[in-house]
């Protein structure tokens, strides 16, 4: 009985996942962003050539930065509308009037966003590697690990955005708050430094911010790999931190979704 229920639950997650991924990939914005990011990575060739002896570094950094930015824009937007748009268009009626547990539906949606982020990074990453090969450069050190860490950041921000979409008043508000968190999350070491230097209310405020804002610098290997500085990333800490954020935000989102009327 429990086995059958679990199997049914997994089948629902898989159906929602497949359907959602198809929906995201057929979106016009997806095509535009993919073309734009490929074009931008290609354009980085020119910047690289201008950098003369630093061509490899510029080409790699520029491409990775663009890739991350494009993936971030699409993932955050898609996460912001993943559930809210279903409510707005009333397509959620046709799903929730069926024997579909809300948390299974939510899980299917989240997994599809994670896979979408991986697809974007793999696609753009392959293109960048082809360009590097074309320019006669070798495989950049730790490239696969850099992509994996960018994916982890995207998974965290995607989970947070879905949670925010349940409590914010509009898609724009959700996207703005997520972008702010994304930006502030890259200043976590600076915040930590300020905590040590300040006292009183400022310190309490900064400590609170440090806890509430995800530390994306944990995953920013791409900033250091070529300089040798902090090139080592604590894998265990990075994975644990990812799971903690994803599970916590999923828990809160599922709780709100369960109470929400359609």
């Amino acid at each position: 009985m429990v086995y059958q229920q679990t199997l049914k639950y997994i089948k629902i997650i898989l159906s929602v996942f497949q359907h959602s991924l198809k929906e995201y990939c057929k979106n016009k914005l997806f095509a535009i962003l993919i073309v734009f990011s490929l074009f931008s990575i290609y354009a980085s060739l020119l910047v690289g050539i201008m950098a003369v002896d630093q061509e490899f570094r510029v080409l790699t950094d520029f491409g990775l930065g663009l890739m991350e930015l494009m993936a971030f824009i699409y993932i955050v937007y898609m996460s912001a509308i993943a559930i809210t748009e279903e409510f707005k268009l009333k397509t959620i009626y046709l799903v929730l009037s069926r024997p579909v547990p809300k948390n299974a539906y939510l899980l299917g949606r989240i997994i599809s966003l994670f896979v979408l982020a991986a697809v974007i990074l793999l696609f753009a990453g392959s293109f960048q590697l082809i360009l590097l090969k074309f320019r006669g450069f070798a495989y950049p050190p730790l490239y696969h690990k850099i992509l994996l860490l960018i994916w982890m950041k995207l998974a965290i921000i995607s989970s947070i955005t879905i949670f925010l979409s349940f409590i914010s008043t509009s898609v724009i508000t959700t996207v703005i708050i997520s972008t702010m968190l994304w930006t502030l999350g890259h200043f976590a070491p600076e915040t930590k430094f300020l905590i040590e230097k300040t006292q009183g209310i400022s310190q309490i405020f900064l400590k609170f911010s440090y806890l509430l804002i995800p530390n994306f610098q944990l995953y920013n290997l791409k900033d250091y790999y070529d300089t040798g500085l902090n090139a080592y990333t604590d894998n265990f800490k990075a994975v644990t931190y990812l799971f903690a954020w994803v599970f916590a935000t999923f828990g809160f989102s599922a709780f709100i979704f369960e109470k929400k009327e359609s």
């Binding site: 629902i12 359907h19 198809k22 929906e23 268009l89 024997p99 547990p101 359609s262």
Partner: protein, 255 residues
Amino acid sequence: MKNEIIARFSNVSKIYKIKRLYSARKSVALKNFSFDIKRGEIIGLLGLNGAGKTTIMKLLAGLIFPDFGEILIGGIKPILSEAKQKIGFLPELPYFYPHMTCLEILTYYAKLSGLKGFKEEVNKIIEKVGLTEHVSKKISEYSKGMMQRLGLAQAILHEPELLILDEPVSGLDPLAIHEVRNLIAGINKDGTTVFLSSHSISELEKICHRVIILSRGEIVKTVLSDAWKIAGGLEEIFIDSIKGNNDENRLITVH
């Protein structure tokens, strides 16, 4: 099983809270609403805009929850999966993903309904609602009538015991109305109980065995088909019932 009750509303009230900056306004959508749906019948819900028709449909589909009272489908609360297995729901003006085909959409809903061997079922339903020719077309190319037929297809896909249709002929041309009406009658003939809401008196007259007249969240009259046949139509009965119930105030403001 002619008089077997398939769904029951017992003293159901639903209040919507409309949030304002510093306060909330409460709008009573349903007041002590009680009625039964019997197996095998086609029962209609007739009322003006804002009478509470869609609220009743959504409550029955388990999409919203009652504030007071109880709703049971085959003895089970509509929010539970076992109850949802028994119903098929078509919302008013259903929306489908425009870049997908009818086959893709029905396959998705069949999987969500937990249908085994869904490919056969999907093809059977597509044929039943007359969409075989348009099966590979994208939804963006569909007319309103075709969308409504697709809506019906997704609702009957898992052979529900109770079919809930919210304004199934809203916005359709006369030919499409005729097709949808025939489809509903056919589905009922196959043994499915149909519960539908409409603004159109003539539509309900043509298809229903029983009509509930609703005004401001309350039942004002239940009319059997024999009664409107004797009276020469449902329109006079409806107007008299609504006029008699016009003075009540249904908005309570809470600060």
